[in-house]
């Protein structure tokens, strides 16, 4: 059960992270697993892509220079966009967690993360009910 199902779905994933290292690694990782990946380095760019591409899921970094993940999330929800969001954070900040939960997110993943788990939660959302093979 490697969860490696090339080309089975062409769901759209938007990765929002201001660290190019993480953005590019995650992009390649999910591309190889048959996902149509878009990336944004900050909130502004992410708004544009979200509006144009209507991703199925957004992987959102909490700590970003231009606009924090929570700020981005709040603005997006205010505009009536209810795309599913998983937040990735390096810090275990109770306040941020509470606020983000109030804004309707699927969950939090803490860095350093277990890559297999990230794969599992993301693919589960994108593929719907994950068929066990």
């Amino acid at each position: 059960m490697s969860g490696h199902r090339k080309g089975r779905c062409m769901s759209k994933l938007l990765i929002v992270d201001d660290e190019i290292d993480i953005r590019e690694f995650a992009k390649n990782f999910f591309k190889k697993r048959g996902v149509n990946v878009f990336t944004a380095s900050g909130g502004g760019e992410a708004f544009e892509i979200a509006a144009q591409e209507h991703p199925d899921l957004i992987l959102l970094d909490v700590r970003m220079e231009e606009m924090t993940g929570v700020e981005f999330l709040r603005k997006m929800r205010e505009q009536g966009n209810h795309t599913k969001v998983i937040m990735v954070s390096g810090i275990e900040d109770e306040e941020i967690v509470e606020e983000a939960k109030g804004l309707g997110i699927l969950g939090f993943i803490h860095k350093p993360l277990i890559l297999g788990e990230l794969q599992k939660v993301v693919m589960k959302e994108l593929e719907g009910d994950p068929a066990v093979d």
Binding site: S2, D21, I22, E24, F25, P112, L113, G116, Q119
Partner: protein, 403 residues
């Protein structure tokens, strides 16, 4: 073979020696690991490489350092491996080492063949525990796009695992390459262990002698403030002393107890405490000292003892402080002790002191290279310096571990 013409063969022995030279004097394991990964990625042309390091506080492994192209390398600090993750489990499993048969690594392309061979050797069936574990390892390696995992072990403890991507020029790793990676990984493991040990001792000493240590650190800072060229000298001497003692215990059959390392730590920090009584003018004098001035400097071991003598728990450390300028042939000071009469704690500090002094800039000269400093120590072995302590610092230098 047409392929081998395009790829110039690397002399791994030379590369390892060059790498070891580069590792000298690196105190911070993270810096050392960066250097190792740069060597691997740069010289062997690997798409990406990373090292997952044991975090003893949380007993898990974190990928802390990585090299390679953006997008291929796993971002530093991004991924962790818990103790039950296959890549960690496999190297903690006692049954694995004989199965790897000296390969010193797990290779993704080789997993099937390994399981099959094990089956043949065991009358048809490979141990299901091993077979399952190896398959899980291969799946986990695939997640990270890793084609080889090399363990970094020190005294049966898994300190780190080196994760290697594919060779840019294609083809699998050969045994010579794996030996090279394994040697680099062992160096890293030892450096990590030494750094951890040093931190632990520091922590322990600070807790145990809280007020005392704070007081002596203040005294130590006072000496260093007087003598600008010895800034960091006490800590340097302490680090080298602990590393030398550790090496003597690991490779020369010395049985030092934990207490010895603590005494050594304190003696290292305080070995020059007696210099507090020497005027600044003399300590920082750029030219030659007059015999009177030299006589004043030579008092510092005895003055140091006088400062500390009312602290009975420092008995062993005090021996180290009093005798760190004795010489094996009896021509040292203050007591002119010979050979075995000199406490080993003092002999270790003497070598560490000489090495740190030579490799640091002084008012009257440029620093000596680590190689030349060790050569000089070896030139004076048995006349000035303790044989095993000197050979230990040479051993540390040769394995690139003066950290």
């Amino acid at each position: 073979m047409a392929l081998s013409k395009a790829v110039p063969k690397i002399d791994y022995k030379k590369a390892l020696e060059a790498a070891s030279r580069g590792m000298i004097m690196i105190h911070d394991p993270a810096v050392l690991i960066k250097l190792i990964l740069r060597i691997i990625v740069g010289r062997v042309h690997i798409a990406h490489a990373g090292m997952i390091l044991h975090d003893p506080d949380r007993d898990r492994y974190v990928l802390n350092v990585s090299k390679g192209k953006i997008g291929a390398r796993v971002p530093a600090g991004f991924a962790r491996f818990d103790k039950n993750s296959p890549i960690i489990q496999v190297f903690l499993n006692k049954k694995i080492e004989p199965i790897l048969r000296g390969k010193k690594a797990i290779l993704a392309h080789d997993v099937h063949a390994t399981i099959w061979k094990e089956g043949l050797l065991n009358g048809g069936v490979c141990d299901p525990e091993i077979s399952l574990l190896l398959h899980d390892v291969r799946d986990e390696m695939e997640l990270y796009d890793v084609s080889a995992c090399v363990p970094a072990v020190y005294h049966r403890e898994l300190m780190a695992v080196l994760l290697l991507g594919d060779k840019v020029e294609g083809g699998h790793f050969d045994q010579e390459e794996l030996d090279f990676f394994s040697a680099l990984a062992s160096n890293a493991a030892m450096a990590i262990r030494n750094a951890q040990l040093f931190e632990k001792l520091k922590d322990h000493a600070e807790k145990k002698h809280d007020l005392f240590i704070r007081m002596t650190n203040t005294l130590g800072a006072a000496i260093e403030a007087k003598d600008e060229y010895t800034k960091g000298h006490s800590e340097g001497v302490t680090r080298y002393s602990v590393a030398i003692a550790r090496y003597m215990a690991d490779y020369m059959g010395y049985a030092f107890e934990e207490k010895f390392y603590e005494d050594l730590y304190i003696a290292g920090i305080l070995h020059d405490i007696g210099k507090i009584g020497v005027p600044e003018m003399i300590l920082n004098k750029p030219g030659r000292l007059t015999p009177e001035e030299y006589a004043l400097i030579k008092r510092h071991p005895v003055d140091g003892v006088a400062i500390l003598k009312d602290l009975p728990e420092l008995e062993e450390s005090i021996k180290g402080i009093r005798h760190h300028h004795e010489r094996m042939d009896g021509s040292g000071y203050p007591d002119g002790l010979k050979g075995d009469e000199i406490p080993v704690i003092a002999s270790i500090i003497a070598v560490a002191d000489a090495f740190d002094a030579m490799t640091t800039q002084r008012p009257y000269r440029q620093p000596t290279s680590a190689e030349d400093a060790v050569a000089e120590i070896m030139r004076c072995v048995e006349t000035q310096f303790h044989g095993d302590a000197s050979r230990a610092i040479k051993g540390l230098l040769d394995s690139g571990l003066l950290a």
